[in-house]
């Protein structure tokens, strides 16, 4: 695509914008202004919780200077959104929780600092589920994010009216926890956004919004400066409009960080070079255990369509078994809350964030944490505390860790058999309505992660690519799971799906 004067710059993808900026078709300040205007017009979507227009324009002007000299990094002048889980120096960072109040760090997460190092422009902080705990972005202290995809058969007027309300009732969720990131990318409120994924928080929102999201291998990106949810599962990654965009973005996010001892000291490959690479002869596994009860026939159809595309591109399709898949979700909901219950202990009202005074320190803890944490976060802290308690630890935590090992082994066996990547559905359904599941049994919500949590439990890379629409016209995604540190294969295979499926863009109604 070439940007003509009439082109809406915000509809460009990251790679297109990068190429055009280098050709000086427009300036960073111009595209930044275009995004700032979109952001202002889209406030009813509630994607941003902090907008940083001054900072953005300053950064853009500096980028333009560099670009004019023919200099600049790989992301020079590209306006991005940052999930509120990433600490940003001088910009409020709250993980969308009341307990952090107006917390403004004086440090920058490693991942975001690498983006600025590479020349990117910061537009603001993106909404998410509180402490990344949720699958619909409804647990955010700043309220739900609206999916730019309109509910089927709604008129723009009706959607606009609903979006104007605080409960946004009836509109669709963007998924979670990176709902703000996915919605912002889908609604052209940034070129791309950072996100994090503990059980599917990048991939499920990508599937719900028709965007691309990759959770790289655990250890690929530094967790330093990212508010922790479950340390052994958390991993940062990008949400973008295209596979190529994700490859470019991930290259800047990734890399060894001595400040995170779980980050891996491996060279970061040129992921973009893998985009478009032939997948001829690659062996793609189709796990039978992912054909779950209650999965809609459309998902099955989508899956088959994906298989056909890969076959056509020369890949070999192999039926495989990942026998411990069914234990992944329950085990995940032990491991993740256990770690969270400990990770969130630091929010005690003593040093920063919210403090509700009490008669003594115990009461201060109780009042602060009762007022500061939302319902879902409290639920997970209680689950986590319970499963780690004396007398329950062996029955829950230890067994869950054993299951985790078995899940890992399932994948290792498949890869040892020569499987290069595994193709699965991304979610059991398309996006659901705001309020539709949040009021119900929490298990209903947790089931959204059924196809994605195994990947976190095994520490593997997983990418979700839009692959079609359901019969109501809502986007659906397919997931590819790769070998450890082989994101390149994922990018190659994902590009084939993207080429075969085309792009899916929400039309603007807000």
């Amino acid at each position: 695509m070439t940007a003509s004067p009439s082109t809406d710059l915000t509809t460009l993808g990251l790679s297109e914008a990068r190429d055009e900026l280098r050709k000086k078709s427009f300036s960073s300040v111009e595209i930044t202004k275009a995004f700032l205007a979109n952001m202002e017009a889209a406030r009813s979507l509630n994607a941003y919780v902090v907008e940083t227009p001054d900072k953005a324009l300053r950064m853009a002007a500096m980028s333009d200077e560099k670009l004019s000299r023919g200099e600049g990094g790989p992301l020079e002048g590209l306006p991005l959104g940052i999930k509120d889980l990433f600490a940003t120096d001088g910009v409020r960072t709250t993980a969308c929780s009341k307990i952090l109040g107006d917390f403004t760090p004086n440090y920058e997460s490693t991942v975001s600092s690498q983006l600025w190092r590479d020349g990117a422009v910061m537009l603001g902080k993106l909404n998410c589920d509180e402490f990344a705990m949720g699958s619909s972005n409804e647990t955010s202290a700043f309220g739900p994010v609206v999916n730019p995809w309109m509910p089927p058969n709604w008129t723009a007027e009706r959607a606009k009216a609903a979006a104007a309300g605080t409960d946004k009732g009836g509109l669709l969720v963007p998924g979670g926890s990176s709902g703000g990131s996915a919605a912002a990318v889908a609604a052209n409120l940034c070129l791309a956004a950072t996100a994090t994924d503990t059980g599917g928080s990048i991939r499920q929102p990508a599937a719900f919004t028709g965007t691309v999201g990759i959770k790289p291998t655990y250890g690929r990106c530094s967790r330093w400066g990212v508010v922790a949810f479950a340390s052994s599962l958390d991993q940062a990654g990008p949400i973008t409009k295209t596979v190529r965009d994700a490859a470019i973005f991930l290259k800047s996010m990734a890399g060894h960080d001595p400040k995170d001892t779980t980050s891996v000291d491996l060279p970061v490959p040129d992921f973009e070079a893998a985009v478009g690479r032939s997948i001829k002869g690659r062996r793609i596994g189709i796990p039978r255990e992912y054909r779950v009860d209650g999965m809609s026939p459309e998902i099955e159809t989508l899956w088959q369509r994906g298989i056909a595309m890969l076959k056509e591109a020369g890949a070999e399709i192999v039926d495989i078994s990942l026998p411990h898949t069914k234990y992944a979700l329950p085990a995940y909901y032990i491991v993740a809350p256990a770690e969270a219950s400990s990770n969130l202990a630091r929010y005690d009202g003593v040093r920063y964030g919210l403090r509700v005074p009490g008669r003594d320190v115990i009461e201060q803890y109780e009042m602060t944490r009762a007022a500061g944490f939302g319902k879902e976060v409290q639920r997970r802290i209680m689950i986590g505390t319970y499963v780690l308690s004396a007398g329950y630890y062996d029955a829950y935590y230890v067994r869950a860790q054993r299951i985790r090992t078995l899940i890992k082994q399932d994948f290792e066996l498949a890869y040892a058999d020569g499987i290069d990547a595994i193709l699965t559905p991304a979610t059991p359904t398309a996006a659901f309505g705001i309020g539709e599941k949040s009021a119900a049994d929490p298990i209903e919500m947790y089931l959204n992660d059924i196809f994605t949590v195994t990947v976190n439990m095994a520490g593997l890379p997983g990418v979700v690519v839009p692959a079609g629409l359901d019969d109501r016209g809502l986007p659906l995604g397919l997931q590819l799971i790769g070998r450890p540190f082989d994101e390149e294969t994922l990018f190659s295979v994902a590009q084939v799906i993207e080429d075969g499926s085309g792009h899916f863009r929400a039309s603007r109604w807000w």
């Binding site: 400040k259 001892t261 005690d348």
Partner: protein
């Protein structure tokens, strides 16, 4: 459990003898310039909250990174305790809420510590050495400090200590008296200081102990134990055990039962009191810290550290006995601190070991203790003390004169404004001996005159001495007195014997 029961260690109760069983958990601050998981300084006495990194304050998104020097120190200590070094260990989180614990958990090692079982030898007295088993050693973070007495309504927190590396060294319940426990802590402190892995400064809290005490009738199974937390002096450890053992015996003899609980020792009142019961005990919800990979290193790394270890007190003590002919007790005293041992060796080099040991233990240690000076700052250096001993050996001065000489050297060198200037060399000392007229009179002619004079003045006593040789001492004393103490006593004695006709 030890099969031998030493009756001397039993405590007499109303219903018979009781055996006290003691185990200690020593918390030793690791000698390291930086904290266990952050680069902050471990310096003591800084402004509150001036040694606090983002990690120490548990800011959102912060991650611990292990300080390799602390790991090396723990391995060195394990080697010094003759213990098994675990090539793979795991850091766990110990979860509890307290304002001086910013993370809401302490990073510690629970199931898989870096060091396993070991043992050390402990001298309980001049004639008794016991072996004490080490259960384990693990690394953990220290907490910060809560300050409750600055303001009537608010408490303050100082995080300078938060995250400083501690080694928790757990003994087996092998100790049977407060004396043994005190000797064990003292020996542990010596070993740590030799190794340079902990400065052992108990006043600063860099070495403190939790003391587990239970009592039983000899031969019976172990009784219920109480844990006395955070005792920070060897003397208090002894007092706390004595009190606690008697308290437990009292309860049991009155037909009561011991509640398993955590207690505090109040040195002011000399008693322990309940801090929390077993029911109130925290559930720490230990689990492996997911921010940290298991700690792994290879045997070659351990071997390299082992090769570089200094000579440890037991080996040094044995060598002092064998090479210098010292008594086990003197060897033990001299090896308590490696600085003393080094001082001794510097003095004893080319000299009589026993004489050197006597001078150091009796004169030097006495003076250092009295004036509260460390041996490293001794005004009388090893070289100078050596000269003093040399001058006794070659007969230049008497033993008594030598003590005066030692005192002069001490006072001169301890006085920063001494007019004569510091005494530094052998020549300085010899000049001093000349100048002060300390030089012993060995000129027989001179002594002979004195002897003759005394005999002439006391003919009746001289007569008595012929039948009562014990009188000779009186004559020696008189001659020495008239010589101003400068006569060589041996020469005086010989002359007197000849003149009085005792031979």
């Amino acid at each position: 459990m030890t099969a031998h029961i030493n009756p001397k260690k039993l405590i007499k109760g109303a219903t018979g003898d009781w055996e006290v069983i003691i185990g200690l958990e020593i918390h030793a601050q690791v000698n390291s310039s930086a904290k266990l998981f952050s680069g902050s300084s471990t310096g003591f006495g800084a402004e509150p909250n001036s040694h606090v990194s983002l990690v120490d304050a548990a800011m959102p998104g912060m991650l611990p990174v292990i300080n390799e020097e602390c790991v090396a120190q723990a391995i060195r200590t394990g080697l010094g305790l003759n213990a098994k070094i675990h090539l793979r260990s795991v850091f766990d989180r110990k979860n509890y809420f307290y304002p001086d614990l910013p993370q809401g958990y302490q990073i510690s090692q629970y199931k898989d510590p870096i060091v396993g079982e070991g043992k050390i030898l402990v001298d309980v007295g001049p004639d008794e050495t016991i072996e004490v088993g080490i259960e384990r050693l693990h690394l953990e973070q220290d907490a910060g400090k809560s300050i409750h007495d600055l303001d009537p309504r608010n408490s303050f927190v100082d995080l300078n200590r938060s995250g400083v590396a501690l080694m928790e060294i757990v003994s087996k319940p092998d100790l049977r008296s407060s004396e043994e426990a005190k000797a064990y802590v003292s020996k542990m402190r010596t070993i740590l200081r030799y190794l340079g892995t902990c400065d052992g400064d108990m006043e600063k809290g860099n070495l403190r102990a939790d003391v587990n005490v239970s009592v039983r009738k000899p031969g019976e199974p172990l009784g219920t134990r109480c844990e006395i937390k955070n005792v920070n002096s060897i003397r208090f450890i002894g007092q706390a055990i004595e009190y606690e053992a008697r308290r437990q015996i009292g309860i049991l003899e009155d037909g009561g039962a011991i509640d398993q609980e955590t207690r505090l020792y109040d040195p002011g009142k000399g008693e322990t009191r309940s801090m929390r019961s077993k029911e109130e005990a925290h559930d720490y919800r230990y689990f492996p810290d997911p921010d940290l990979l298991p700690l792994e290193f290879d045997q070659a790394y351990v071997d390299r550290l082992k090769a570089a270890l200094p000579e440890l007190p037991d080996v040094k003590k044995a060598r002092f006995i064998a090479d210098y002919g010292l008594s086990p007790y003197d060897a033990m005293v001299l090896t308590l601190e490696h600085e003393s041992a080094d001082f001794f060796e510097a003095v004893a080099k080319g000299r009589d070991g026993k004489a050197s040991a006597n001078w150091i233990i009796n004169e030097l240690f006495g003076r250092l203790n009295k004036e509260g000076i460390l041996i490293s700052a001794s005004p009388v250096s090893a070289d100078l003390l050596g000269v003093v001993i040399d001058r006794i050996a070659d007969g230049t001065i008497s033993g008594k004169m030598a003590k005066d000489l030692f005192d002069i050297i001490w006072r001169t060198n301890a006085d920063p404004e001494a007019k004569t200037g510091r005494l530094n060399t052998r020549e300085d000392i010899d000049v001093l001996i000349e100048a002060t007229g300390m030089k012993q009179v060995t000129d027989t002619g001179e002594i002979e005159k004195l002897v003759d004079d005394i005999i002439a003045a006391n003919p009746d006593k001289a007569e008595q001495a012929r039948s009562k040789p014990g009188m000779l001492g009186w004559f020696v004393g008189q001659v020495m007195k008239s010589s101003g103490g400068k006569a060589n006593p041996a020469a005086v004695s010989d002359l007197l014997k000849a003149k009085i006709g005792l031979e």
